[in-house]
Symmetry: C2
Subunit: 332 residues, 2 copies
DNA sequence: TTGTATGCGTTATCAA
DNA sequence: TTGATAACGCATACAA
């Protein structure tokens, strides 16, 4: 059942001109009901499916949205991507997915993406300094930053209030009686990590505790790096009684490191993560975490983009900021 | 920097005809070196990027591969998708991702996909009985089944020997001294789950143990379903000392259920999963599992598809079967 | 070896 | 309200 039926075949079958068929397809007004019906019958009968490629060539839109992520195998991205993919299809759009991991030359590949007449782009992972999208995409098609945003931006964005999230972890821990609280950060080139760090730093001060740089891990946290750090801080005489990890994935590694050092969670050490990925809710892990309400965030990003695409108006960019939610489980 | 430069502009700039530019673009032979060079210079100078949509309209190919998965938020799929996405781009193809979850009418949406002149499709999740792809796609574009395949198939496939994988779990457990081994299956409409079940069943017999239907959970394993099952079998006087779970995700829930029943892993109960997803290797979980070498599988599927696309020859379909590997960790 | 003309399947423009 | 025709950007048959 090859898809070789064209608009012409439908036109012939229905006894009208191709333009009329096109008009029916695009829900034009002012079509005589009987003709419309004939066309619709012909479409059904011939099993006609409009060729999106041809459409796209002339309209410069493709009913395809580019989704740029850092690492699709990261549960945060795969889980949000799912929301975006499903919702998009529901609205008649497909998703072209782009995983930037290990990308040296974003410019080149971005141009490749753009050569497909994308209707719009959702960028799930952009560094704080990146200007590629602003420069290359410019005003040609709508772009929405999601999860992270660069410091200089002329596009819409949907992000979480990461600073606030961090503060929530600290106040939760303080309420539980902790006062020595360690922090494991991530690459500061991303706003998510950077803001979480800032939130930690500020709230430790605000609550009248003292910052101990030895309890703070900066830089890209590899497994070994985390293991060593945890071992080191837990062996201190004034060891911390709680650890805030920048992501759930880090937190899970922290859980292991704590166990390896023969401490127990949460009695000896409490642990909090960020993101509320699926495994965190698995009772075996039961990680207390800051939820960024990622489904809501993803849906909002998509809706914003679709609005920009379909209204086709250049409103002044808006930054939607979602509030974090603390989800208490057994690690605190 | 809008992408408004066309082949005509390049032609004008280089002082040649558009067709010559096209020939350079497509690496034709018989082009005078000096003209070729002029064209190449013009392309660089004008920052020209061929419009893939226009190309696709005429060639009926789109340098886009459809990737159909059941659930992209499932780590197995997100991790294999990543391999496919990266490898594909390296070869000049983009990935249109399609998540079928909750799809009632695959036919309709498949047609929508096909209306985009996809170069080929990789199907990561097809039921044993599905004939949609065979019927709708037919010979129009290449299709490769990946991970799962239907019982009747005229397409290439790349899968793991799931039966063998199951047998490996049993022989591993028997070697460790277990003889009462429970099994948690999944939806039998998928070949992966079905074959893993068959492998369990057959090898229990082959090793001279007796099948106890009460130790076998069939059907779609929800969390509650798993929890209840584990609680039930562990409270039996002749309780099992090992549990084989059809996937790592199930296994992790099993770990929790075991803990809730105050048994310890692996001393009281051993656990094995399938898939070797990333979290399983996290030392905190340390799940023994059967690896299907999913990266290798994914790459093989893509390579097969690309070969079919570019050779454009209809070879007789082949079923590539990958050998499972046992990865021993702390749960057995 | 190169240029001209045509067409891919659709929408947009114009006239009727 | 409808139809004829051009156009989208490119690849290709054919001519030169």
């Amino acid at each position: 059942m090859k898809n070789k039926v064209t608009i012409k075949d439908v036109a012939k079958y229905a006894g009208v001109s191709p333009s009329t068929v096109s008009r029916v397809l695009n829900n034009y007004l002012h079509i005589k009901p009987d003709k419309r019906q004939k066309v619709e019958e012909a479409i059904k009968e011939l099993n006609f499916e409009p060729n999106e490629i041809a459409r796209s060539l002339i309209t410069n839109k493709s009913k395809t949205i580019g989704l740029v992520v850092d690492d699709i195998s990261n549960p945060f991205f795969s889980e949000t991507s799912k929301v975006i993919i499903l919702k998009a299809r529901q609205l008649g759009y497909e998703i072209l997915i782009y995983d930037t991991s290990g990308e040296e030359d974003l410019k080149k590949t971005l141009k490749f993406l753009l050569s497909r007449n994308l209707s719009g782009i959702i960028v799930g992972s952009v560094s704080r300094y990146d200007q590629n999208f602003e420069e290359l995409v410019g005003e040609s098609i709508p772009v929405v930053y999601f999860n992270r945003k660069p410091e200089k931006s002329n596009f819409f964005s949907v992000t979480m209030d990461n600073k606030k999230g961090s503060k929530m972890t600290i106040s939760h821990l303080i309420q539980k009686g902790h006062s020595r609280i360690a922090f494991i950060g991530g690459p500061f080139e991303y706003s998510t990590y950077y803001d979480r760090y800032l939130g930690y730093y500020e709230s430790i001060n605000e609550f009248g505790l003292t910052i101990d740089e030895e309890l703070i891990l900066k830089g890209k946290p590899t497994n070994d790096y985390i293991q060593n750090f945890v071992t080191r801080i837990l062996s201190k005489p004034d060891r911390p009684t709680a650890i805030v990890a920048s992501t759930d994935q880090i937190a899970i590694t922290v859980l292991d490191a704590i166990e390896k050092n023969n401490f127990r969670v949460p009695n000896d050490v409490a642990v909090i993560g960020f993101d509320n990925i699926q495994v965190s809710s698995n009772p075996y892990i039961g990680l207390t975490t800051i939820s960024q309400q990622k489904s809501k965030m993803a849906e909002l990003a998509l809706n914003t983009l679709i609005l920009l695409i379909e209204k086709n108006l250049k409103e002044t960019p808006e930054d939607v900021v979602i509030s974090p939610k603390l989800i208490t489980r057994k690690t605190t």
